[in-house]
Symmetry: C2
Subunit: 232 residues, 2 copies
DNA sequence: ACGATACAATATGTATACAGAAAGTATCCG
DNA sequence: CGGATACTTTCTGTATACATATTGTATCGT
């Protein structure tokens, strides 16, 4: 049925944007996507409106849609805002979670762990996204969850690199991250808001180092046979 | 031109929902609205998607759209979350505002004051909304502004009653509220984040008392000739 | 008379044709 | 040869007809 085609397309577009299968800033070709998902323009344009509302894409008047970019100014604000949102969400999740939601969280964590074990960076980062979104749902706060969702868009797109560890040290960090998820589940289960917040800060600090290193990597050696390039 | 019809409709729908011209929970009649704004169904449905993305309405599969309701559970969360969002927005606005934005804020405040002086509750609450949304823009934080916007939807719909003072005391509170806006402008202009936060808390406490009284008014007298109704 | 089912009416979702705007290209003039 | 303008092409926006789903109603059977 066509209903499935549409919602499948919507979900798939979300996944593709979050995993950078469609890169930040890319133009969306309406006609091509219609053909790809066997939809006519009307439902596809509706999907665009949805994605726009979720902050995944931007629609410009008479000029099509493009995937939200990740510019430097936004990254700065991202690192500034993340701890506050994440910690408050963690507190509320510990306080307000239902048992059904906790079971869902465990299931997501299991899938997340499998993806990290398999070394599939794309799937791992997407399941990490779902893990944190689920905690957001557990907070039962319609105001904060929209902020969390915006954060997770950029977080997930950045963290692609995190789950592609290039050495033993980085692999250990991924394992630590998975273990922290387990601890967060326990804290939320026992309604321990303080522990949930503390673990969330640890979790954030761990990933932050890695993300910052991605944004600002070690400089290339200045003394090579490549043309020299001095300072800014 | 049709472009104007569409964006005018979108803006007007926003205004009507925020001022409770269309009440919370009301069904939206697609055909009737199409006729009213001289639009065909396609752009009207696009407007619905936009409003849905902004949290003003909810769209249900094969079952039309309705204005977001304001249930008790949400109100509780509203009062819990508002101070955090408002204060953080105030801090960031003081830190990051541009002079152009400050000029806009002053213009909005002038219009707001005119509406309160004229005693027009509907226009006053809508312009109060624009005032606080403008401060949100000045924060330059794409994550927090979506949370702020969600808060302001409920805040504005609740505050209708605030700007319809039923006595000298309540009128004085409205005047105090207008004066606080002026002070907030000064704090933001001088990049004084601490003052902006402090004023925002005062402003919130003032309106909170009034809003809570609206949500939970003084009980009706129990001794009347109306049929008695004991306890819960 | 009550409930269930079939049918009709209405409302929602989709496809497509047409209209209008933006962008690219070619030609003309200086 | 360079720049501006007109034309063509392509993409975006809108209207409308059609398809599908839901809801209300009437009839039939028990």
């Amino acid at each position: 049925m066509s209903r499935d085609r549409k919602s499948e397309c919507l979900e798939d577009m979300r996944r593709r944007i979050l995993t950078r299968n469609i890169v930040p800033g890319a133009d969306l070709d309406e006609a091509a996507l219609c053909a790809e998902y066997s939809l006519s323009r009307t439902p596809m344009r509706e999907i665009f409106q949805r994605l726009n509302g979720e902050g995944l894409i931007q629609i410009e008047q008479n000029r099509g849609a493009k995937v939200s970019s990740m510019d430097l100014a936004t990254m700065r604000v991202f690192f500034q805002t993340a701890p506050m949102i994440y910690c408050n969400i963690a507190r509320l999740a510990a306080e307000n979670r239902t048992t059904a939601q906790l079971a869902d969280l465990r299931a997501i964590q299991q899938e997340f762990r499998a993806a990290t074990d398999a070394g599939d960076a794309e799937v791992a980062s997407f399941r990490n996204h779902r893990f944190h979104e689920q905690i957001g749902l557990m907070a039962h706060n319609p105001y904060l969850i929209v902020a969390l969702r915006r954060m997770l868009i950029d977080h997930t797109r950045l963290s692609q690199i995190f789950y592609r560890p290039s050495g033993d040290d980085e692999a250990a960090r991924v394992q630590a991250s998975v273990a922290q998820h387990d601890q967060m589940i326990e804290a939320i289960e026992s309604h321990d808001a303080e522990a949930a917040i503390s673990l969330t800060m640890d979790h954030w600090n761990l990933t932050r180092d890695r993300l910052e290193r991605y944004v600002m990597p070690d400089p290339l050696p200045t003394e090579t046979h490549a043309p020299e390039f001095q300072g800014a």
